[in-house]
Symmetry: C2
Amino acid sequence: MNKKIEVVLTPALLPLYQVQGKNVVIIDVLRATSSICVAFFNGVNKILPVSTPEECMMFKDFDFLCAAERNAIKLPGFDMGNSPFEFQNPLLKERNIAFTTTNGTKAIKQSKELGAGKIIIGSFLNIAVLVNWLKKQQQDIILLCAGWKDKANLEDTLFAGAVVQALRDDYALDCDSAMMAAHLYQHMQNDLEAHVRLSSHAQRFKALHAAEDDVRFCLQMNTAPALPIMQGEYLINTLALTA
Amino acid sequence: MNKKIEVVLTPALLPLYQVQGKNVVIIDVLRATSSICVAFFNGVNKILPVSTPEECMMFKDFDFLCAAERNAIKLPGFDMGNSPFEFQNPLLKERNIAFTTTNGTKAIKQSKELGAGKIIIGSFLNIAVLVNWLKKQQQDIILLCAGWKDKANLEDTLFAGAVVQALRDDYALDCDSAMMAAHLYQHMQNDLEAHVRLSSHAQRFKALHAAEDDVRFCLQMNTAPALPIMQGEYLINTLALTA
């Protein structure tokens, strides 16, 4: 029997799913998982997802760079916020980063607590590498949309749909959320940016007069091929390890 | 400023929304809210949504008909399950019904506890009557999909999308779930049945060798115009009151 692929539209729904042992892909397109791919593509050594800004700041003493965002805004006193442009800096090479974001790090922690097999970072920027790796694993897959404050959002659902589309011939699709996500992606893929610009999160960016360019950046395909996977407490770029 | 319309994809997400005072439309297309419309269209007097089969059965002593379904199956000893065909019986005229279903009655109770303004029953069978009434109210609207065991499902999302489509010119749409639902409906509306037959719930029906005709029945437009609204503990057909 085929392995299963399921889409969880927000972390609030994750406890309804059988997570134990499954590979969980964390999706926070605007912007945490996009920025993580960019960081690794630019040579970052490892990333430590932490829950709170206070916890994040503690790692300054251990020569980490510290990145913290809340409500789409970089917190004062931190090296970086959550914009992918901040992670393109060549000075990041070989550095370690402690990272806390509104939705992304929470989804990682929660997957861990529920006994996920492997926890992988997904974004449009690394989609081909991700899909190829998932195909090879032959494991049940949960695509976990980080959403916005536990509500579903368009951009994460669309990315989940893109992955479902790419894998649907090889996996059993017994999940309405996966069907809906794939259908949405299929009909929006030729004009992703226009659709995502109408989404509530993009509107939120606009209201902040910030991060508008981030929307376009985060919808590019395969511009930051990396394969960040949780190993212990850290995200490591396993693509670098196997290359 | 325009009033808001939001879609809640499953009851598990309802606590994230500001429900107080808003009109909440309960959506359980397969099959509770469809059957409720059919019951009222066939002259039922009032319907009492109850939580458990045990509670439901107690109302036999008060001359209620008792309807109970769990996991898509009619429970033994009850007058009816959850199939709309069972509610087309002319013997139901003027009768009272106590009704408990897997997902539908739970969504009603929860909306009440969170302080909803009016709680209205929605299905394709009464969509025009519902939409006209909502337009006249000029209140914020929450479209609450009953889903399946707290997961999102296709048929309820599609119905929510149909209502959003009908109202979007008059309401503010600051909700990605509403955008997604409307988009899905727009692209599936010409072949609703084929799409819904692929959904997990329709597949569940198929596995039970039951209720397959119910899918087609519940996707008909405006064949049971009724406007069931909670008044105190009961659902009443307010269309009958104003006609």
